[in-house]
């Protein structure tokens, strides 16, 4: 009897949850629609309905909330239904399964943020006539299976990186801050070079900049940079701090808020200034600069609105229209980053960036802007204009 009741209870709960999930809009974020959320009819453009899958390697967090709020803000005017799925950054079969499920659910195009198993996925998409484009990913992480095979595939339309493919500019900016701050012993943390070659390159640029300073500095002012600590996609070990007891600054090019800061807290080392990337808008926002324990001194992230790049490419492809200046081969393009280097930058981000508020009203782009970026809805739209739009989303561009 108890088992029967348990079964009935489960059926009721499952059915109600499934029903709730089904009746909810595809983008389940509750962010209110903004005033610029004009329907297609009002904008005077006749849009075509499409169903597009968003396959992202994370399914929670501030960045995901912001991205979903943005998609929710544009879905009505753009007449697009978004379906979400979660990808893996380390398992090809998981990703293929997720994409197959999206295709089965009727998606005509898919935007992906992880590149594991992309050749098999493209093969699947080609057989189903579904187009793929990337976001937050340079398709260079699993480079044995990506690159030429991917970018040469007619069903792959291009990708926008998580900010800049080359982050040397940030390494130079942090080096300048280290020199300016008078730090003497600096640690550097990166992810493995095979997965993130740009981080190893940034570390090199950082060292070159410090070496250039050391070449002319007095002995007492010279800066020692410890060898790279490679994180194997696991949090930093606490022994790192006992290995370098004199360390007075830490540059974690690898995601510092998630992989390094928790270890610093556990080791009581939050007095070491942390320069990092991968803004999570949680502890890193609360303890930035003069706030909280002040551990975070700089951080970096790309903006959720950059997803318009692959989105416009997919919509145009589905509508059978292309930009007059569209390159023949799919491209990997950069987008603006929110480079937060000071209290003022952080205040501006907290006040006006959609990344932080997850409010579509704070978006760099209105729904009308997105429609106008598509060649199929705006004959004057250009590919150069699309790339330009995603490169005007920096802290300086915030309202």
């Amino acid at each position: 009897m108890k088992k029967f009741l348990a079964l009935i209870l489960v059926l009721l709960m499952t059915a109600s949850l499934a029903a709730c999930g089904t009746s909810a809009p595809a983008a389940s974020n509750d962010a209110p629609a903004a005033s610029n959320d004009a329907p297609a009819a009002e904008s005077g453009v006749k849009t075509v309905h499409h169903k597009i899958g968003i396959a992202h390697y994370v399914d929670s967090g501030r960045a995901v909330d912001a991205m979903r709020a943005f998609l929710k803000g544009i879905e009505g005017p753009l007449d697009v239904e978004f379906v979400f799925a979660t990808l893996s950054t380390y398992d090809e079969a998981t990703n293929l399964t997720a994409i197959q499920n999206l295709i089965s659910s009727g998606c005509e195009g898919i935007l992906m943020s992880a590149d594991m198993g992309t050749p098999a996925i493209l093969e699947e998409c080609a057989s189903a006539g579904v187009y793929v484009a990337g976001f937050l990913c340079d398709y260079n992480q699993s480079y044995w299976t990506a690159n030429e095979e991917v970018f040469g595939n007619e069903y792959f339309l291009g990708t926008v990186c998580d900010g800049h493919a080359d982050i040397s500019f940030y390494a130079e900016d942090v080096a300048a801050k280290i020199i300016e701050g008078g730090y003497k012993h600096v640690g550097v943390v990166i992810f493995p070079e095979y997965a993130y070659p740009n981080q190893a390159a940034a570390s090199k640029v950082f060292r070159e900049k410090i070496d250039a300073y050391n070449a002319t500095a007095a002995d007492a002012d010279k800066i020692e940079v410890y060898e790279d600590q490679v994180l194997n996609f696991a949090p930093l070990e606490a022994t790192y701090f006992s290995t370098y007891p004199e360390m007075d600054a830490l540059f974690s090019i690898a995601a510092g808020a998630g992989m390094v800061y928790p270890t610093m807290v556990a080791s009581g080392k939050t007095d070491i200034p942390l320069f990092t990337s991968g803004f999570e808008a949680t502890d890193d926002a609360d303890n930035f600069g003069s706030s909280g324990n002040g551990c975070f001194k700089s951080t970096l992230c790309s903006t959720p609105e950059a997803i318009v790049y692959p989105l416009c490419l997919v919509i145009d492809k589905l509508n059978g229209t292309t930009y007059a200046d569209l390159p023949e081969k799919a491209e990997r393009v950069d987008c603006s980053v929110l480079e937060i280097m000071s209290d003022e930058d952080m205040a501006k981000v907290k006040e006006s960036a959609m990344y932080y508020s997850a409010d579509f009203a704070d978006s760099f782009l209105t729904a009308e802007d997105v429609i106008n970026l598509c060649a199929s809805y705006n004959p004057n739209a250009t590919y150069a204009g699309l790339v330009d739009a995603i490169n005007h989303m920096s802290v300086a561009d915030l309202k």
Binding site: K3, L7, A18, G21, S104
Partner: protein, 319 residues
Amino acid sequence: MGKTMKNSSLKTHIGDIFSFAGLLLCVIVFSILSKGKLWSAYNLGVLVQQTCVYAILAMGAVFIYSMGYMDISLGAQVGVYCLLLILITNASGSLILGFVSILAIAILCGLINGYVSVKLGLPSIVTSIFLNAIFGGAQMLIMERLGTNSISMDQKLTFFKQMPVMLAAIVIIALISVFLYQYTQLGKLVKGIGANETATSISGVNTTKWKVLAYVFFGVCIAVGALFLTARTNSAGKGTGAGYAMDIMVSLLLGGMPLSGGMRSKISAALVGTFTYVILANGLILSGVSTTLIYIIKAIVFMAVILMTCRKKDGVLPR
């Protein structure tokens, strides 16, 4: 008397009824919620492809779970076998050599898993923890040595991606499993070990031998599963196989397999369970359920199945 027997028979089969009812319910509910997309030709192919590896692994795992044991090294073993299959095949140009190599390693691991645990008097889950650590480390070392996230096979394994081939593989493994389980001593004794190992041993059965044989068959299934998993994407990486031990356990539970093993164990649990598990995951996406709710729904179903299938007197956890 007749009524008592009828009740007893119903009690014996209540697990089967629940598991088949669960599968049927999943099919009906998701047929409606997905507005028929569940039955599209494309999706049926996807379901077969997604079920194939799970079903093969689960049928091998039935022999282990029947003894009330559990093997958590499954995922790590699958991962390493996929990598080795690719590396050996690429180096030699022979898929047969690649497969025979991983088959030999899988059988050897089965022997180690079964024999060592008996000889050292360790619970088999402990030896599987050792194997899991060894294979997990090997997988990481191989990928670090290669300096990449993912490796691909030079030759395309399209033959193993065809729906008839995958269906045939499921059927063949199922026939072999049913034969071993129903018509040989192996099946009867693994259930006996699960029901009461001491009694089985006292009755003159060399339990060590049958435990080792069960693990050897499990190893064969892991090797075959690894072949089909590799064929799906023609590649493998540092995370290949991750989570498979848990997926197989959940699938078996959904199929009505008691975690404590014993006489109520059955091969059908593997097939019913894997189909239910795959249809559940696939159907929720097709029905437009948000990704956050999917986790909750899966957790509720999992908990409910444990409550319904466990025998409290034996405890919930496997030995």
